[in-house]
Symmetry: C2
Subunit: 336 residues, 2 copies
């Protein structure tokens, strides 16, 4: 028990060869007699040899670890993305080290520093809602650690980015509401300054413009935070006069809250107000009436972002491209 794990030295000693020979045999390089190689491999198998990861990465300066930071894993979208990432990481023999920022800038930075201190080969990042300043990220990049941002990005920061085409998704959703007859469409918007908030808002605005509907500031209701903080905004809806006939929410949770609220105030959905959300969370199918929404391919975003990062690690091109994945409008009963 408790005996030390078997090393390359143990094998060398037992076989009466040098450690370099064992190392060569194990690493499948040339300059090795097939017979001795066979012997080494066999003994390694027998002794259940596992190369020491730390030692390897100490000498070749690669850890094969990818650091991932998301605002909150507890979110359908991010867990989908993480799922895609782990699958790709696994296929490519990379490890995935995970942190969450809990939507705060301070935790984001401290996580990032920890990951960098851990010598991660690359960083996958979706920023918190507080994050505005790319200065800290610059430092990291200067050290040579590639960064790929996904979903919540800093547009001005130079790195590869993978996002979904939120603008187009929002545009399609609002256009759909308009085509179904809505003329006064409320928008429940996200925190200002965040790329996803701005993009979705712009899609909303441009759809109005295309169909020559007036933009009314009073119809744009900002939420300070994400997720459950939409209620104050929602409560304003019932007091708007004239009553709006459509609602486009930044995410499904807000949309569902809105549906529940409206219905409890005897405002019928979809008859009086048609509603569309964003995300295609499981709740969108469960709610009554089922929610028209914009599906974003979270799993695909994760896969793609990880793929691009690994590619960048291998080939060091230091890119600055933005890849936009298409969304899909899922039409359900809330806009009937």
């Amino acid at each position: 028990m408790e005996k030390h794990p078997v090393t390359i030295k143990d094998i060398a000693k037992r076989l009466n060869v040098s450690v370099s020979t064992v190392s060569r045999a194990l690493r499948n390089v040339s300059d090795i007699n097939p017979a001795t190689k066979e012997a080494v491999l066999q003994l390694a198998e027998e002794l259940n040899y596992e190369p020491n990861y730390m030692a390897q990465s100490l000498v070749n300066k690669k850890t094969r670890i990818i650091g991932v930071i998301v605002p909150a894993i507890h979110s359908n979208y991010f867990s989908e993305a993480l799922s895609g990432m782990t699958d790709v990481a696994n296929e490519n023999n990379y490890y995935l080290m995970f942190c969450q920022s809990n939507e705060t800038f301070s935790q984001e930075i401290s996580s990032m520093k920890k990951l960098v201190a851990c010598n991660v080969d690359g960083l996958l990042l979706s920023i918190s809602k507080e994050t505005k300043d790319p200065a800290e990220f610059e430092k990291i990049r200067e050290k040579g650690t590639p960064i790929v941002m996904f979903d919540r990005i800093l547009p001005d920061f130079c790195c590869n980015k993978v996002i979904v085409d939120e603008y187009e998704g929002a545009f399609k959703a609002v256009e759909h509401l308009i085509k179904r007859g809505c003329r006064r469409i409320v928008h429940i918007a996200g925190p200002a300054g965040l790329s996803i908030s701005e993009n979705r808002m712009q899609g909303y605005l441009d759809a109005l413009k295309k169909y020559k509907l007036p933009m009314d500031e009073k119809l744009i209701l900002r939420c300070k935070a994400f997720e459950d903080d939409a209620l104050p905004a929602i409560k304003k809806i019932a007091h708007l006069r004239p009553l709006p006939d459509g609602l486009f929410a930044i995410n499904d949770r807000s949309a569902v809250l809105a549906i529940k609220y409206l219905r409890s105030h005897n405002i019928s959905v979809p008859e009086a107000i048609k509603v569309a959300g964003f995300n295609d969370d499981p709740i969108s199918e469960a709610v009554e009436p089922s929610l028209t929404t914009v599906m974003q391919p979270g799993y695909e975003v994760g896969k793609l972002a990880m793929g691009i990062l690994i590619d960048e690690i291998k080939n060091k091109p230091n890119g600055n491209q933005t890849i936009r994945l298409r969304t899909k409008l899922i039409i359900r009963d809330s806009s009937k």
Copy 2:
């Protein structure tokens, strides 16, 4: 650009002292002149020195990395648990390395081997639905890597475990249905052999027994897989005669599917059949009628499991305790 990261040697050279001195200064141990210590710390700060993680863990044989394997991160419950784990890991200066088994035994084992090869200090594990045999886990434990299982456990495997009291949760849910007048209660059960399936089933059975209701094999509908595979089982419900008046599902997704199915077949919920689920997923609140369910504290499970593991890493007691967290019955409209 591209210059190598600053090491302890660089500091030593600039200060004309030895590396050991720098190391001592940095590590805050005795045997060091306050003045030189100050100088070292200051220069380290100035040069932005970060200790090389790999080198450190190579010598002291601790990585401060915890490996986590779950069946699928894309699940509300597991992402909650993971969230708790990361938060505790962060507080204690541990890193979290993440893998998913995608519900297969093979991926579970290969992930585990990778994590162990990576010298993780400990392992947090929730097994796949295929996993029956603890042999591989034994090997790991023999190497001295502590394991804590959570949620989906192997009861016979000797290690600390953190689960929710599924039995009690199921019992309470079924008891609640009975008290609301149900006499023929269907159970949508999970894959056989999995601890959570068995425990919830037992709670169901014992609640029936307590209230002297007959157990009817035809009312127990097994699903082969989790999540979305419940539909074949659900479709049988409408054909049961006499029609059941209650339904307890192994999870909320199945319960929601059932509600949708029943209602589309003009079987009213809760009037004709009252329904209860398990998990308290967000969908349970969204669905119409809102779903009575059993809340399990996923975040708490994650926190606790990580805490226990870290404790075990520090103190090496090699425990074999099972901690059960209480569930909470959330009564909503589906059982009115």
